[in-house]
């Protein structure tokens, strides 16, 4: 016998009623991995929850911005039938991350809580030139060696106090809290450095403890953290006044003031030296120039010129004198000649002759004539030309 056929919608209605009445399906806790995560325009988040062999669709009537594909989660929700499609899905009330995801989720919650309280706003200024540095770390760890080396690189008189703390395992939390308390009680150090070398997530997770965070927040002395490596950031890093990526970086940050001064001093000294050298060089050049300029004012050329002129003047004066004397002498001779000639003229007037040779020299001496010498016998109005026949000396008695 065949059954009376029912409609599809009637079937789906029945399935929905049947499933809704099941208390287990109304109160589900399902474990699985998220995939195919997407958010619709309406703000609903859809994903598929799977295990090794099977999947089921899920919907959140809210926007889930935390979940990622691949997250292993536990879903709280209820099953619901989508009548029109004949499919079913889980309506998700809440999602819980499990395993690693859970720890991180808890941490995010804690972060949110503390941030809301304003505990991340702590920003005390560090002393520029710390005189006393307190360090909370393991005295046998790797961190302290690096830190001390960094402090030694600066020529400053710094007191260092180390609060030896375990930095591994659960007990370490108390050490760190005690360390912060003690430094604050004694109130000797100007800055506290909390440090630990690199490690696994578990190793560094102790610094995510809320009690440590609260103690750090309460600290009146500024706290610098230098925990782990570059990418690690724990809760105390957020609360601290200054957070650095590594122990060495934290130590560098603390002594920054000294290093700056050192650099400034070195630079100033260098400038002083080179400025002074330059100044001395410039002045030295100016001096040399001055020397040459000074020398150029010496009348060296002039002296030579004047000396020459003096000589010229001297010669001129001498010459003029000599010339004058010569001239006078010459004039004198002319006068004398004139006078002599005058005497001869008187003689001619008397009718007495003056005898001269053919070139006009008056014969006065026997040496001027010999046989055959042509003579001119000069009378006043006429001249006789005669030839010598003979010459004879005439001696006179000397009385």
């Amino acid at each position: 016998m065949k059954l009376k056929p029912i409609k599809v919608s009637q079937l789906n209605q029945f399935i929905k009623k049947y499933l809704s009445s099941n208390s287990i399906l109304n109160n589900l806790r399902v474990e699985g991995e998220i995939s195919n995560l997407r958010t619709s325009k309406t703000g609903y988040t859809y994903f598929t929850l799977c295990d090794d062999s099977s999947c089921i669709n899920c919907v959140c009537f809210y926007t889930d911005s935390i979940s990622k594909n691949g997250d292993k989660v536990v879903i709280d929700g209820e099953l619901s039938v989508y009548e029109a499609r004949g499919s079913y899905q889980i309506i998700v009330k809440s999602i819980e991350r499990i395993g690693m995801g859970k720890i991180l989720q808890d941490l995010e919650l804690l972060k949110g809580k503390l941030k809301a309280k304003g505990m991340f706003e702590k920003n005390k200024p560090l002393p520029l030139y710390p005189e006393n540095i307190g360090i909370i770390t393991s005295k046998t760890g790797a961190a302290i060696k690096d830190i001390l080396k960094t402090f030694e690189s600066v020529k400053a008189n710094i007191e260092i106090t180390i609060y030896n703390a375990l930095v591994q395992g659960d007990n370490s939390k108390q050490y760190i809290i005690d360390g912060i308390k003690k430094f604050n009680e004694d109130n000797v150090v100007d800055v506290i450095l909390i440090s630990r070398g690199g490690g696994s997530f578990e190793d560094l997770n102790i610094f995510n403890d809320i009690n440590i965070a609260e103690e750090a927040f309460k600290s009146n002395i500024p706290i610098v953290t230098g925990i782990g490596h570059e990418s690690d950031r724990t809760l105390i890093d957020y609360v601290a006044d200054v957070y650095c990526h590594t122990p060495t970086a934290a130590a560098e940050r603390i002594i920054r003031g000294y290093k700056d001064i050192q650099t400034k001093l070195e630079s100033l000294i260098y400038n002083l030296k080179s400025s002074t050298k330059n100044y001395i060089n410039i002045k030295s050049s100016e001096l040399k120039s001055s020397k040459y300029i000074l020398r150029s004012y010496l009348p060296l050329e002039e002296v030579y010129t004047k000396k020459n002129q003096l000589e010229n003047y001297k010669h001129f004066i001498k010459n003029q004198l000599e010339t004058k004397l010569n001239k006078l002498d010459y004039q004198l001779n002319i006068m004398r000649e004139k006078i002599i000639n005058n005497n001869y003229n008187k003689q001619l007037e008397k009718g007495l002759p003056i005898v001269s040779n053919d070139i006009g020299n008056i014969i006065k001496d026997i040496s001027q004539v010999n046989e055959k010498t042509l003579l001119n016998i000069n009378f006043k109005d006429f001249i006789i030309t005669a030839r010598t026949i003979s010459v004879k000396e005439v001696k006179h008695d000397e009385k």
Binding site: L298, P299, L300, V303, K306, K307, L310, Y313, K314, F316, I317, K318, Q320, L321, T323, K324, L325, K327, L328
Partner: protein, 70 residues
């Protein structure tokens, strides 16, 4: 170096100027009497000697300054 009559002059420039004047006066020898000529000659030589000595002194002093301060 003879030092006759060298003290008459106030300065090198004065002596030199006088020498120049004497030279000018002697340009035309006909205008000058023999006595004047002789006088001029003596004064000229005196001025010349004064000037020459001054110049040579100066040169010597420059040398000394150079060697003192180089």
């Amino acid at each position: 170096m003879m030092k006759n009559n060298n003290q008459n002059y106030d300065s090198f420039e004065a002596a030199f100027e006088e020498l120049k004047q004497i030279v000018q006066n002697l340009e035309d020898i006909d205008d000058v009497s023999i006595d004047e000529m002789l006088k001029s000659y003596e004064m000229g030589m005196s001025a010349y000697s004064f000037c020459m000595e001054k110049l040579e002194d100066t040169q010597k002093k420059i040398k000394i300054i150079d060697s003192n301060f180089e």
